[in-house]
């Protein structure tokens, strides 16, 4: 057994242990901290699977932004009064749930062990497609060129989620702003972070977006980092969550899918098919679409975390 194999097994056991703790922790806060740690460990597993793009997305959105969503909502629930005592499910439910989960996990494990060898793959087709787009990162090429329909519809799912979150607002708050993310009187250290880390973070985000064409990175990961930076600014109270009826916010939210659809329709005229990019222009078009997707993701994630409007009009 080589060192690498031992490391893999250790990593796997660690991931499972932290996952057990997110389920078993007594308080929600401990569970969320464990979940964020779990996301980080999972990022290392993704690196071991040669998937740095996924590693970054998992760390940024799967663990970082989801973590702050749960911490913030947990704090809001707490500040609105102690959560009512949870009714503990009975032993029989525990046992049957355990049996069901064990069954599901075993079935899935069996499928994984029975995967055909060599397994079917779309990599050769992706390689061909990559040559046509002029990109260097196959994952970006798949996202924006080859399977662009999926990515566009996924952007629309994000929009639907925003509509859903906003629509649970009380009528009297409609058109107002969500509750502030941070506390009044932010501390000095927070302001220091806001003033030094955020510019650096924006730089890193733009860098990750730019290298995404040829190396791991791209609009999703960069958008998540920019979203995190915007949320730090809002936690430090240097800016407030925008009112839901502000025009610029809505333009930012729809720009990604809108540009995507326009580019797709233009493909009918210029290259004869929906989402066909004309020869030689594929790379600039892809980067153009990605730039607006970046904007949409960076705007959508904080809006989803901030939640529905709770104040009738901004201060």
């Amino acid at each position: 057994m080589s060192v690498l194999q031992i490391l893999d097994v250790g990593l796997a056991l660690l991931v499972l242990a932290v996952a057990v703790w997110t389920i078993a922790a007594r308080e929600i806060f401990g569970a969320v901290v464990a979940y964020v740690a779990y996301g980080l460990l999972l990022a290392i597993v993704w690196i071991r699977l040669f998937a740095p793009d996924v590693a970054l997305t998992e760390a940024a959105i799967g663990s970082g932004v989801t973590g702050i969503l749960l911490v913030t909502s947990g704090a809001r629930l707490k500040s609105a009064g102690k959560a009512s005592a949870a009714a503990k499910p009975g032993l029989s439910l525990h046992l049957s749930a355990a049996a069901l989960s064990l069954l599901a996990a075993t079935a899935l494990a069996g499928v994984i062990l029975a995967l055909p060898e060599p397994s079917p793959t779309l990599a050769p087709e992706a390689r061909q497609e990559l040559a046509a787009t002029g990109l260097g990162n196959p994952v970006t090429a798949v996202l924006i060129a080859w399977r662009s329909f999926d990515t566009m519809l996924e952007k629309i799912v994000l929009l639907l989620a925003v509509v859903g979150v906003w629509s649970v607002a009380s009528d009297r708050f409609w058109g107002g702003a969500p509750a502030p993310l941070g506390r009044a009187n932010p501390q000095g250290a927070l302001l220091l972070l806001e003033q030094t880390l955020v510019p650096l973070g924006i730089l890193v985000g733009v860098h990750i977006f730019w290298v995404g064409a040829n190396a791991p990175g791209g609009a999703f990961q960069a958008g998540a980092i920019l979203a995190a930076m915007w949320m730090i600014v809002m936690i430090a109270r240097a800016s407030e969550p925008p009112r839901v009826n502000s025009l610029w916010l809505r333009l930012a939210l729809i720009s990604g899918p809108a540009v995507f659809i326009v580019a797709g329709l233009a493909g009918i005229g210029m290259a004869g098919n929906f989402f066909a990019y004309p020869d030689g222009f594929a790379k600039p078009i892809i980067l153009f679409i990605e730039a607006f997707m970046l904007l949409t993701i960076a705007a959508t994630l904080p809006v989803l975390v901030a939640g529905p409007p709770r104040r009738s009009f901004g201060p």
Partner: protein, 94 residues
């Protein structure tokens, strides 16, 4: 050399994971945050070591993103923990 890098990565991961025991025990939320922060830094260190040993391209950017998000997570945690006392008793500060 590669084996040494992997060994170091495993060792760091193991020690900071032992530190994760603080997440379990607490007692306070601050201790939990500290353990998560230590895991963040150790995770970045072992990520860099593993990447250097197995030559996965572009891992520096992933680690850069992780470093940013570690800071973001601690900010969010402190903010989430401290929301229950809203009164401005720290207005002056030091």
């Amino acid at each position: 050399m590669n084996d040494f890098l992997l060994f170091a990565a495993g060792f760091i991961l193991l020690t900071v994971a032992a530190g994760l025991f603080r997440v379990l025990r607490g007692p306070g939320d601050a201790d939990r945050m500290m353990a998560a922060q230590l895991l963040g830094t150790g995770g970045i260190a072992s990520l860099l070591l593993i990447a250097s040993a197995t030559t996965v391209a572009g891992v520096e950017d992933v680690a850069l993103g992780l470093a940013l998000l570690a800071a973001f997570a601690s900010v969010a945690f402190v903010n989430g923990v401290a929301t229950d006392d809203e009164q401005p008793q720290e207005a002056g500060g030091k």
